[in-house]
Symmetry: C2
Subunit: 421 residues, 2 copies
């Protein structure tokens, strides 16, 4: 059996590589036609897909999956509609492929430029969210990539039904059906092959819990675009305008708790702590946010604040808990962020031009902000149109990853018979 | 001992990370001052460095290293001068750090842009070429990165002497001496630590033989910017101007044999083969280039041509040998290149506009050329000023890697108190 999974994955990989050659030179119109045909196929197969999802849901309930997982797994008619709207949005995005930039003459007489091209084959590993299947497939196709999808086993029937509609649409439009392939086995060995087939797969995009992503990163022989943690900070600097600091600190923590761009630690300059902390603490109390503070925070806010341990500064709570630290100024704030943070998103609240400029330069995170809520770190808010994930890597794609993150640039050289002297 | 190497490497890594924080916000002037101070320190220590190199050379001769390796190892006064000139060139390069691009307003009122920033810490692993020590260090410093250098054991004394001068220059200019560190042990375990210390090292740049680079890529837990093979092609298309095709095919093969951008397989359209092959074969014969051809090539050129095996199409000869194949047209040529090539550099010779355009789009290589010699694939020829290597990866840096390849872009968000709705 082990053997046959390897063979199966090899076949999937070979087919994806072949499809990627066709997709790489497909015109924008061909790709958009395919996405439109997929739209129609999904519309026509709504009931089949929702029925397949019901099978997954029933199985999930029998297996006593927790309610959060069941919620993510479920496809309702409303969610199906939203999924289709997302596809429409991708169709309307500008095609990044083929763009040539920086084409300039060199002393030798040749012209050098860069052409934007697809990466080739994307391997996507994700949890039991069927909508991600369509989202990832549509972004891959639009950017001229083939994609191999490995969703959570709990969503297998839903994903197969969605993939069938996608392949129906691909076929109708004349692009290879194997442009989008869903791994049809729940055997974990499939993932092991997917992340090591460097001849067939160019990049792995994992989406899921930290443990899953760490394991994949450690075992992959292929570049991984990933994000591990979202331990984001807001630093209320001494010259902050509290009319901005208060709503931002509230929004960054409480707008949504379970998201990677929520604030997890609030840093406050000692010169403004007495004025700011009691007022923000009141707002958090209304939202039942638990505060864990340093000694100075505890002194100012009193017994309602639990002590923060060293561990708290590292923690992504993903819930109504916030660590709070009073710092002596910019340097301590930046050191804290670069040491304990996860290089995701960090924001300073200040009216001081020079400090804002320094913060932007010195904080080593994928998004660095001035006077804005960390919640803005998002492909849609940044104008990417859609995102396949958020990267906390420094290499290739950093921060929200849209179509451009699924592309590369090759050099083109145009000559007239030039040889090297 | 194993234990103490681990501790040693941890210390090196920690120091590099600390230094990188300082370098990241160092001004262009500070970095150029440091590079100038290094220039002076090297000038003042020329005799010490050449003496250290003599120790390495003596040891190398005693250990009967082959002459090519000894040649690469040797520092002469002329080479020392060239090394210093290279440093001057890096000083005159434009500093890429801090550049902000695409800063634009979004509907929410925030401004989004990208800021170019250093990667952080570069781990460089290379063979016994002492000049690479200075080249890599100067590129890293100019781009605001700390660097850890692991050169070949045969060059240890030379590298230590060069590093001492570099650190002297750093100290004189006020930047951390630990910005550039040379691993002072020849124990191979040091490499194992270097390529897995993901908390301290952001990118690995290996330069050396294919075996070394494959081993590093397989074991690394850090992104690797690498190039494995340079199996480059020239395709003489049916509508080629032979006045261009002949000098280019000659130059691409014979200008230098041992370089990664030399042509290794010549593809010729069947419609031009009878006219082109005998003429180019005559030129190759003058240079004693051995030809290995397909059946059709052998038919046209006669018994002077050895048969090419399947293996030949994959081979990077790095010497005066050339594989030659007659193909039925563009499609076969592109299929051959994408299958057997190493995605390094490939060139088409044609006067046909549409075919040139297709070739540029469909060949999946880091450099794709029209009517130019593959030998142009080089950081200096492309105008990068210098290169730390050539990448055949698709991720992050592709083709010649200059200063920009040692940088990343982070998102910056400028607001006026905006919160997410």
């Amino acid at each position: 059996m082990q053997e046959s999974i390897e063979q199966y994955m090899q076949t999937v990989g070979q087919q994806a590589r072949q499809a990627s050659r066709v997709l790489a030179s497909a015109s924008t119109q061909m790709k958009n036609n395919a996405l439109s045909a997929i739209y129609t196929a999904l519309q026509n197969n709504e009931s089949t897909i929702l029925a397949a999802n019901q099978i997954d849901m029933d199985k999930g309930r029998n297996n006593q999956l927790d309610s959060a997982l069941l919620d993510r797994l479920e496809l309702t008619p409303t969610r199906f509609k939203a999924m289709l709207q997302g596809l429409k949005d991708v169709i309307s995005l500008v095609d990044p492929i083929g763009e040539i930039t920086d084409l300039a003459y060199r002393p030798s007489g040749i012209q050098i430029g860069k052409m934007r091209v697809p990466l080739g084959v994307v391997g996507m590993i994700y949890e039991s969210r069927p909508n991600v299947t369509l989202e990832a497939a549509s972004l891959a196709l639009k950017s001229g990539n083939a994609i191999i999808l490995r969703g959570g086993s709990e969503a297998l029937e839903s994903n197969k039904a969605i993939a069938a509609a996608i392949q129906h649409g691909l076929k109708a439009s004349g692009l290879p059906e194997t442009s989008v392939q869903v791994i049809n086995t729940v055997d974990r060995a499939a993932v092991g092959h997917l992340i090591t087939m460097s001849e067939y797969v160019d990049v792995i995009v994992p989406r899921g819990g930290k443990g899953l992503i760490e394991r994949i990163s450690n075992e992959a022989r292929i570049p991984v675009i990933k994000h591990l943690d979202g331990n984001c900070h807001v630093f209320v600097e001494a010259q902050a305008d509290l009319h901005k600091a208060l709503p931002i600190a509230l929004n960054a923590k409480t707008h949504r708790y379970g998201v990677c761009n929520a604030m997890e630690t609030l840093l406050v300059d000692e010169n403004v702590a007495e004025a700011f902390l009691p007022r923000i603490a009141e707002l958090y109390a209304e939202k039942n946010v638990e505060l864990r503070g340093c000694l100075e925070t505890q002194r100012i806010l009193g017994s309602g604040v639990k002590p923060a341990s060293e561990e708290d500064w590292y923690t992504e709570y993903l819930g109504p808990i916030l660590a709070v630290k009073v710092v002596s100024g910019m340097d301590e704030a930046i050191e804290h962020i670069n040491k304990y943070g996860s290089h995701h998103t960090d924001s300073i609240i200040t009216e001081n031009f020079s400090l804002a400029r320094q913060f932007l330069a010195r904080v080593d995170s994928s998004s660095v902000m001035v006077n804005a809520s960390t919640r803005f770190a998002d492909g849609f808010e940044y104008g990417l149109g859609a995102e396949i994930g958020i990267s906390t890597d420094k290499i290739h794609a950093r921060g929200p990853v849209g179509l451009e993150g699924l592309t590369s640039q090759k050099w083109i050289v145009l000559g007239d018979g030039q040889i090297r002297q």
